[in-house]
Symmetry: C2
Subunit: 302 residues, 2 copies
């Protein structure tokens, strides 16, 4: 197979584009896809300060690398979740990426600052680990971006992630969640703008990008995510993509183009009910925000 662009031998085939790419053309293709996404959804400009939530995995490190190459003003944010070796290894990958690029990395240590880790927090709050983790990360992403005066918070959600989340939301027809599923959530009500510049790249492509560009990342899945539904939804979509390449992209972008406008009103209404949490000042629709409730339960029960 030859590179679609330059006709040199290809190193990777992307079936949904019915194309092969050589190393330099694939790297350029990935960066072009991200640039196109940033521009199409008006995610941020070169003058704005972007904070990237970095886990040490392929997606967030590829995103950081790509946005730096595209000339954006980006810093990294790493949250230490206290998940044993998984956390210490992922922190090491993140730190060595940052130091090799002389990039700024903001670090927050959940156990050190808030007195609990994901295992103890989820147990105390009687939440699944992925639920307690997601809640904590969303809270800290927003509060750290606000505290640091960033204009926008970027996450490394890729096409596979977003399609799997969409499948989960569609299976339950949770319109409030569906209404919030967009590559850009505008700032408002105490939330900074949130963007997902990798939605046009599949998981396999961000992994290939890292391998080709020599970016070391943590390969293992989080040990606490075993058996979670998100992984089951990914498996379902992998099967459909295998028999019909392009299924994931047409599922996600078909939703964004045609159905998302129909449900947009639902989450807008929800946003109007937001007010600052009396404990931490983060936006919430409840009396106290879900993160502060989690902190209280996790630290009281010890």
């Amino acid at each position: 197979m030859k590179c679609r662009v330059c006709r040199e031998p290809a190193v990777i085939e992307v079936r949904r584009h019915n194309a092969g790419f050589c190393h330099p053309c694939f790297v350029k293709h990935c960066r072009d896809q991200v640039k196109k996404t940033v521009d199409a959804y008006q995610m941020f400009s070169e003058n704005e300060r972007v904070l990237i939530a970095v886990s040490g995995g392929k997606d967030s490190l590829a995103l950081w690398d790509i946005l730096m190459h595209l000339g954006y003003n980006v810093d990294g944010l790493y949250i230490g979740l206290g998940i044993g070796d998984y956390s210490s290894e992922s922190a090491n990958y993140t730190r060595s990426f940052a130091s090799s690029r002389r990039a700024t990395l903001v670090e927050v240590d959940l156990p050190g600052t808030y007195g609990f880790d994901i295992a103890s927090g989820s147990k105390a709050a009687r939440r699944a680990p992925c639920s307690a983790c997601g809640l904590s990360k969303r809270h800290l992403f927003n509060s750290e971006a606000a505290r640091g005066g960033y204009d926008v918070l970027a996450t490394g959600h890729n096409l596979d992630d977003e399609a799997a989340v969409l499948l989960g939301n569609v299976l339950r027809w949770d319109l409030a969640y569906l209404g919030r599923q967009h590559p850009v959530l505008e700032a408002g009500g105490g939330f900074v703008r949130k963007v997902k510049p990798l939605v046009r790249l599949a998981e396999r492509e961000t992994a290939a990008y890292c391998v080709l560009e020599g970016i070391d990342y943590i390969v293992e899945e989080c040990p606490m995510s075993v058996g979670n539904r998100h992984l089951a939804y990914k498996g379902v979509l992998d099967d459909l993509e295998e028999s019909s390449p392009g299924s994931k992209a047409s599922f996600l972008f078909g939703y964004l183009e045609r159905a998302a406008p129909l449900v947009a009103g639902v989450s807008a209404a929800e946003r109007e009910a937001l007010h600052p949490c009396p404990t931490c000042a983060s936006p919430t629709v409840s009396e106290v925000c879900a993160f502060c409730k989690l902190v209280e339960r996790a630290t009281t029960k010890r």
Copy 2:
């Protein structure tokens, strides 16, 4: 396991209801579910004439049996599609059911009346067999119901069928198809009312109903359906149902309750563009209806 209703030994477990049933209570449960569906969606009354599209399979024969037991005024419609032994066997099951119940069966033979079968028609029209078949059946169901003066056409689509169709429609976000996916499509523009009274029963339940009630049906899938996407979508949903019983029902009914109202306008607009086909008088948005085009291609090329 005991019957949820009478505490006698159960013969079937229905996991999404977290319940077992003995033979008589299961049969009553199925009939109650159909009655509840007919009433909830105001499908038809006891004074109306119902034509059931019967394939000789478990769903349509169970539906016919159940609606007769519930006291509705129902006749059967069988379309001979010319699919070799599959068609002759399914015709035999349908005829013996009808004669054992002294029920009225209307028969239409596609090759005898229109000069082509599904294999030749799909080849001539360059359509997949399931596409040519679905198109022909939908056309003949409607034209036969109209010709016989029936108030409503009922099909045996069950929960599994409807959930799989919904998944296919959602993966493509085809709003026109989504807008038409409802247990009742009201009459209008030349279409008779169409209803799906089995949407609350899973495939496994209609099969068990037939076995327990001694209804013989054709067990084989249509030989021309091998590899079609609908079966792949069913497989995907079976896996999700296995790990989380009730997934299919919450997917379908969540859609109907919360999302269908948002897309209803799309298909309503389409209906307004309908006019009678100049050849057969069936409603169409094209100059000539798709069935008449299929007939022309299938018979001209011979």
